[in-house]
Amino acid sequence: MVVGDIATGTDVLVVGAGPGGYVAAIRAAQLDLDVTLVEKDAFGGTCLNHGCIPSKALISATDLAQRVREGEHMGIHADPAIDMAGMVAWKDQVVDQLTSGVEKLCKGNGVTLMEGRAEFADEHTARIAHGGEGQGSESVEFEHAIVATGSRPIELPGFEFDGEHVLSSKEALAMDRVPSSLVVVGAGYIGMELATVFAKAGSDVTVVEALDQALPGYEADVTRVVRKRAEELGIDFHFGQAAAEWTESDDGITVVTETEEGSRSEFDAEKALVAVGRQPVTDALGLDAAGVETDGNGFVPTDDRARTDQEHIFAIGDVAGEPMLAHTAMAEGHVAAEVIAGEPAALDHQAIPAAVFTDPEIGTVGMTEAEAEDAGFEPLVGTFPLRASGRALTMDETDGFVRIVADADSEFVLGAQIVAPEASELVAEVGLAIEMGATLEDVVGTIHTHPTLSEAVMEAAANARGEAVHTLNR
């Protein structure tokens, strides 16, 4: 490649090849646009390389080991040993398969892939700096651009990630052995998922959280189920404790925390994982040169067509703000591509589901009872406890419940909160119900396979109507 400038032109320049960017690029190419997708690190972005996929791989594998370890009462005798290096190598294979799949899908749809770091030069030009010395750079002129640069973990002051004592989720997902002990700073979904992984792998895990509950933002009865199980797994929780500083110790690290009142505690462990949230990646991107504004937190504000305040520049995914989830990024990628192609697409989804892959899983979609009330509905609520589910009993996983929220008057389904094995899958049906404007009767009137966990969704809907068969309707 020639050092210096080569100018190419493209209908759509997509910056960042995470789930937002690669989906937007593929969809735009399907709609006959000429698309260039630039990525500075690894195709697939955070999600495939350091997020959703690696975490779910380690969650599944350590869960398998844990369940069989606890299988004696079911007549299974095993003493599973976990070889973390082997598990991570398997996880890397999974990641490689998916990221090379993404490259193939891009090429198969005619997307031009470019490796390098993009920086906007003006409203219609970006400069792409190729990695490595002497690799040069090139200019790309675009009709439209889609910013999909994602997010990175927030660094707590004093807790810079060093890969040795203080880990980010990225490093925690790539360990070559199980640390004997681990302090997890932050009980959000990433902290809770990884705390569970390492507890099941055999670490002594302590979670410290500044707020007063695990998974802040979720309803108390939802998080209670997860916390109870986490405690059974040996995870130690300390709430109201903000990480203040750390020192090296003989064993590894001592994390010092402080309560609001200023009293200090110390937690010793081999390593600390800090998972206190994620922030948008917009630095060195030249957004101002392109005339695109960011908000006070660095996110790029967008409208319901995923447009920034520049008509022809779009922003999708984590960089465009909450909810910072891969499927939101993908949905926004779809919309951005279709809007550019002149289709009547919009971000008009009624509900965005979210899952936490703890033990048991949490799956939520649409409104909680309180949210429904705030929105002016009179909520009608039905629940079904998992311990009454035949399928849950046969899986030996009976912690949790399905709750469904509807509007009392119309009986339109408004939301669901599910804590159950496969809760991440079970929300799909409720999501469709919400999008379709289905009523409780429609859910109850759909035959559900026996014995399945999805019957619990139907039972919760029936319970809301006072006609559940497998629970006593209050």
């Binding site: 009986e411 379709m436 289905a438 009523t439 009767e441 429609d442 009137g445 759909t446």
Partner: protein
């Protein structure tokens, strides 16, 4: 042994709309749907119930 909603074809309507049709004595198979793809909505069923030419009052 009763004459019922669908004949040989399929009716594309939510369970709640189908039940409403029975309740109102409307032959849902004969209702023209105004929803996407011709889906029969509850409103379509109610409208059909109000037009007098549909005398079927089966549906205890």
């Amino acid at each position: 042994a009763t004459s019922q909603t669908t004949t040989n074809g399929r009716v594309f309507a939510a369970p709640s709309a189908r039940r409403l049709a029975r309740e109102l004595g409307v032959d849902i198979g004969a209702v023209e749907g105004t929803g996407p793809g011709g889906r029969v909505t509850e409103q379509d069923v109610r409208a059909a119930a109000e037009t007098p030419e549909e005398p079927s009052e089966d549906g205890t």
